[in-house]
Symmetry: C2
Subunit: 342 residues, 2 copies
């Protein structure tokens, strides 16, 4: 009777295939996808074309990580029976829509996009930005609209991309006079970015401060040992600082025993808890989470054909959906289409 | 024995489908295509996607002119049995290669392109350039390379686009270590741009000073009557100026009797030839050229299915070629490809 109370959304999510996924992805997105897939229609896009926007010099890396990231997905529990895992480069409609949408957005508007501005600075591109990088909001708009996604889980730094997508959606719907494309809503996770082991900025695939999903017990322990705590907390009996303490940030993200963590923080602040106690606890928690993921992943990695089958099945389904949206949109715009058949 | 002396080239040529073709196109490109098709493998692209880069607000116009321009092609004698006439939007590989090439060119380089700079100014875009317009050299590079064209007939104002294409070609060939894509050569016609009837700049589809290929005898006569000559040549007996005299420019372009034109110029300079004599001659020449084109066009226009069949056949052939180039290039770059079949 109340089936409309919580209607299913269409979710588009995914990752640029630029490296192995790590704990930052796990807490920021993967864990949520595993939960969301039961309540919504979820499409998980391996964004290999977009990965090329700043990796054109090394396409082989992007190639390799398509399968590696797919393995990460399956290992954490993204279920191909209920989530559609698909490959961006296998969906020509996404490129066609990107080229189309570039006509509906100005260069000045792309340059004003805060996400693009920040990332251009972070990558040190200066004036030598690859054009594809400046244009990637149009590519993301193509991805989102091609699936008619209504919910897009993103980090808070990516929210302006959703806004720009919705501007294109409104412009197209106004021009066609039909609400053909839905506006999308950004779904920003409760837990923000996980800092790197060294406490600097966010955990990053490229900066070597990340704990990959494939980390062994020994690697987890080593990473946790290196973890930044409170540099003034020299003896267990000293009062310690919880804020900015990476070990506590990780415990907040991964340890389900909230009461015990609250109590540990309290005692740490007063003095009486050594860093090693915290680190042991965290290493145990992380090993407990990662061990089954690692084992499932190793098993899956033995059967590459199984993974390829999943990518083919998902991409075929995604191709049908994205081709259909393209067709509807071109017809609504009155754009010439010639039917060539297969 | 000398079969390699003048080897066949692959020609890519075409028009943005933004309006009816006119005498400027006839003299600048159409006439050459009719000749070139016998010696080379010629692909004629109806560039409807590129037409949208500055016509996104009016796709229906672009739609209409796909068929209209195809009719112009057939009417002037571009022979679908030896030239391949195809539609850009029916070739997804062109959009996919465009998106790929955008990663191999910087925003700064696109902004430095003289053709783009001039056209941005001519269209009064300022900072509000549609991104698609700034990116169109990448789209043209996709078109040219997808057909592996070696010869591209262009106006001299478009030559920088070929240069930019070749930069992308060299970059890709260097990265793949294979000379997979050929460099293209610009083929700039001997006769430059035809001025408009009023003598201002080039004949333009949009400025109402063009004589369309469909012009009736009466319309040709009226246009020639309006044509700019020498404002100081008031009486037939006055000496007249040949330079900048639009009627002579048109006679140079369309009248095959060179000796007679040379003699007319001589006598016009000395005084003794009235403008009406020249204009009668020109109107006669133009009517002789356009009458059979107009009649053939009217006949073809009655059978829209016949034209659509030609566009389908040509686009199918072009799709095979462009998909094949894309496949070769992605493989050479080591970019992941998932085979989905039809």
């Amino acid at each position: 009777m109340s089936s409309n109370k919580n209607p299913r959304s269409i979710i588009l999510t995914g990752d640029r295939t630029t490296g192995a996924l790590h704990l930052g992805h796990y807490v920021g997105s993967l864990r949520n996808r595993v939960a969301l897939q039961h309540q919504h229609d979820q499409y998980v896009l391996l964004a290999d074309s977009q990965a090329l926007t700043d990796n054109a010099h090394d396409p082989k890396k992007i190639h390799r990580y398509v399968v590696e990231v797919a393995l990460d997905y399956l290992a954490v529990g993204i279920d191909p029976a209920i989530s559609t895992i698909c490959v961006q480069s296998a969906l020509p409609a996404l490129a066609e829509l990107t080229v189309l949408y570039l006509n509906f957005v100005t260069v000045a508007r792309l340059e004003r996009n805060p996400t693009i501005k920040d990332e251009i600075q972070a990558r040190g591109f200066g004036r030598d930005i690859p054009a594809g990088f400046l244009c990637y909001p149009a590519s993301q708009a193509a991805d989102i609209t091609a699936f008619k996604a209504t919910l897009v889980p993103v980090g808070d730094d990516q929210a302006p991309i959703i806004e720009q997508t919705n501007e294109i959606v409104r412009r197209l719907n106004r021009q066609t006079g039909k609400a053909l494309l839905p506006e999308a809503r950004a779904l920003i996770p409760a837990i923000g970015r996980l800092p790197g082991v060294d406490g600097k900025a966010k955990m990053s695939k490229s900066q070597g401060d990340a704990i990959p999903l494939t980390a062994s017990d020994a690697e987890i322990e080593a990473a946790v040992r290196r973890m930044y705590t409170d540099p003034n907390h020299l003896r267990a009996s000293d009062p310690g600082q919880v804020e900015g303490n990476v070990v506590f940030l990780y415990l907040d993200a991964f340890d389900d025993d909230r009461d015990e963590i609250a109590s540990l923080k309290e005692r740490y602040r007063q003095g009486g808890v050594g860093d090693m106690v915290l680190k042991h606890r965290l290493a145990f928690v992380l090993k407990t989470i990662l061990a089954p993921i690692r084992e499932r992943r190793a098993l899956l990695a033995r059967d590459r054909n199984f993974v390829m089958d999943i990518l083919q099945t998902g991409s075929r389904k995604a191709r049908e959906i994205t081709e259909n949206t393209k067709k509807e949109l071109l017809e609504a715009l009155g754009i010439f289409r010639i039917e060539l058949g297969p």
